[in-house]
Symmetry: C2
Subunit: 230 residues, 2 copies
């Protein structure tokens, strides 16, 4: 009985959130702002990837960052030190971001002046996958130490993302990670997902990552339909 | 408005779950079954630690495992291969286990014949921390690649656990991890937590881990009050 009640409420919230997410996307289109939602487990390298991305793209794009964290401001301090616009959403126990929270964040950083907004979602492979944040594209990080079986265990996350960044490849010597098996498991869920390998420690793969992101922004600016999330 | 509604429902579910958890603990006391709830991020090593624990304790205890997984049966197959009683709870999108789900699992494996039940919770540092599963003790794994800042970002998980297993210490050469900083951050939240270092790859620290677990079971059997979760 408990479960049924929970699901109903969740469904209501999910559909309200989807509608708000659509309105948010319309608004961002009017300001010419591309928004990326970045998700992963705790400690997979979201903040590090964002810092690399800022350094690589700041000459060409005006960038804003929305940091989600349950309790701390650790990440937003690192981003703020780069001198870009950043807002910290302290979710106070909430395990994900939804469009309502993102809208609040956007109001603070003011999207009208920005070309690119990156959302660093709460570190969690489960709940964030269920919510449309209003972003144009979803990307996720899976780090090598987490293992190649994760698509079997967290299929929704791998299904809703447009890009999968396999991070910490510098640690490959220490962990068993079967790229072929991983890719097979991912493709079953999401044949079109773009898969990249990176190391935020050595910088390997960063050009491919920022190249992908530049291409998404270019397509978005052309008003291409493909830019809506599936 | 949305948030308020969500919180109310959540609170209702949390208090129902707490009451059921108490009843579950009473029932387990009557069958002399000690139950451990093991939590962590995805890929931190929960299943590997459980396999080591089975091998180390099976001569002295009758063991049952409750595996939670959103979608797959990967973990329970590994455990079943060890020949111990195992039940797989497919949570179908739920991001945590609560006492209702654990009660269903216990009914299947039949606790009356068991000395030790280990719950492998859903891989998630957020939601599982909020739910009392009915276990006597909570333990969590933080793996070295996840980083030493996690207590700042997921404080509730570190607050509700009796033991913290720092796993993958074999990978220390590849990652920066400041044990002192980690311990300081954890102690602020939870001064009494027992911290251990392990490698499920090399077996380092396993004796200390299983020693801690044996001691918890011994105290539980003496009916010591300290054995209730805080």
């Amino acid at each position: 009985m408990d479960e049924i009640r929970l699901i109903e409420v969740k469904e209501g919230i999910l559909s309200e959130s989807r509608a708000l997410a659509e309105r948010l996307r319309e608004k961002l289109r009017s300001t010419g702002t591309f928004m990326l939602n970045l998700m992963s487990s705790p400690g997979s390298g979201k903040t590090s990837l964002i810092l690399w991305t800022i350094d690589a793209l700041r000459a060409d794009f005006r960038i804003g960052i929305i940091e989600a964290d349950i309790a701390s401001t650790v990440d937003s301090e690192k981003v703020a030190a780069r001198g870009v616009k950043v807002v910290q959403l302290r979710t106070g126990g909430f395990c994900h971001l939804d469009a309502t929270m993102v809208a609040q964040g956007l109001e603070v950083i003011g999207p009208q002046g920005l070309d690119l907004v990156i959302i660093e979602n709460v570190g969690n492979l489960v709940c964030p996958a269920e919510f449309d944040t209003g972003a144009n594209k979803n990307a996720m990080i899976l780090s090598i130490p987490e293992g190649d079986d994760k698509p079997l265990k967290y299929p929704l996350m791998f299904s809703v993302c447009d890009a999968l960044v396999l991070n910490k490849i510098d640690a490959l010597g220490v962990f068993d990670f079967d790229f072929q098996a991983l890719e097979q498991r991912v493709r079953v869920l999401n044949p079109g997902i773009h898969i990249l390998k990176t190391s935020c420690k050595t910088g390997e793969g960063m050009d491919a990552w920022t190249g992908w992101l530049r291409e998404q922004i270019r397509v978005f600016r052309q008003g291409d339909n493909r830019c809506e999330p599936h």
